[in-house]
């Protein structure tokens, strides 16, 4: 099964890379961009009996290692 995890900094956490990207977009003429947040996407291939078990296993992977829940939120999609 394939899965995709989207990891983003929590909304209260300052994202200096997002701020730099916004500034650069404004500088090349996209002045209507008023906010940018940068995150990461991780794609996994996982063996498992069904989507819901795979999803709960990936949730555990996120909590243990793939995301740092002090500063990040994650969303999981299983295909």
């Amino acid at each position: 099964m394939k899965a995709r995890i989207k990891i983003m900094l929590k909304s209260g956490v300052l994202d200096p890379q997002g701020a730099a990207i916004k500034q650069a977009l404004n500088n090349i003429g996209f002045e209507n961009v008023t906010g940018v947040r940068q995150g990461k996407v991780i794609e996994l291939e996982v063996d498992g009996p069904n989507k819901s078990e795979v999803r709960s296993e990936i949730e555990s992977m996120c909590n243990k290692m793939l995301a740092n829940t002090v500063i990040e939120n994650f969303e999981i999609e299983v295909f």
Binding site: L9, V13, L14, P16, Q17, M65, N68, V70
Partner: protein, 222 residues
């Protein structure tokens, strides 16, 4: 007095840290991260700076899942002393031994320079040779030193005197100018500045010497 300096792929301050600890009388062994056990009777675990696992995923995240980290966590839970410098601090937050996380510097630049640091408590083995409010100079060298934690943790650390060092001029966006923090029992310290790079005359700065002399007061906790 025995210290273990943990070595990960990408650690690069392990030798400096070992030398600084040896200078104050520690018998130092370097432990490869794949070992699952520390030697017996280790008094201090020291996690050095560097770029463990190339800073992949998040700084310190992959190192925190190395086999040795389980033993480091139980050493901490038994009341053992643990020091994490720079990447070592990042690893300590990822293991949960210290609260919060280190984010990308707010200026996005890697910063390598000597900065002024205020000692916020002398009530720990790491800081007992300084006086509170002493201003010392130590080098920093990091890309991700922007300390972040929820306000509840920050308030608790302030109330319990667990903030060890603050920057005099905040270089990286850290909340409340925090440069180093202690665990509630004051036996685990994480800090971004490098005392081991200011530990002998040849470094041109000896403000870190008192830091290591304090560590030499460690009494074996058995």
């Amino acid at each position: 007095m025995k210290a273990a300096v943990i070595v990960f792929p990408g650690s690069n301050c392990d030798r400096d840290l070992a030398i600084a600890l040896e200078m104050v009388g520690f018998e130092v062994s370097k432990i490869w991260h794949k070992n699952s056990h520390l030697e017996k009777n280790i008094d201090l675990v020291a996690i050095p700076g560097g770029f463990s696992f190339g800073d992949y995923l998040r700084v310190g995240a992959i190192a925190a899942s190395s086999p040795i980290c389980k033993s480091i966590i139980s050493h901490g839970e038994r009341g053992g002393y643990i020091l994490g410098v720079c990447n070592g601090f990042q690893i300590l937050t990822e293991t949960g031994l210290l609260p919060g996380a280190l984010l990308r510097n707010n200026g996005l630049k890697y910063i390598c320079k000597t900065i002024d640091l205020k000692v916020e408590t002398s009530d720990s083995i790491f800081t007992n040779r300084y006086n509170r409010s002493n201003v010392i100079k130590l080098p920093i060298a990091h890309h991700d030193g922007n300390y972040n934690a929820n306000m509840k943790d920050i308030d608790r650390m302030k109330d319990q005197g667990l903030i060890a060092f603050r920057y005099c001029e905040n270089p990286n966006g850290s909340i409340d100018d925090i440069a180093g923090i202690l665990s509630p029992n004051k036996r685990v310290l994480g800090m971004m500045p490098h005392p081991e790079r200011a530990a002998e005359q040849a470094h041109g700065n000896v403000d870190g010497v008192r830091f290591f002399k304090g560590l030499a007061d460690i009494v074996s906790f058995a």
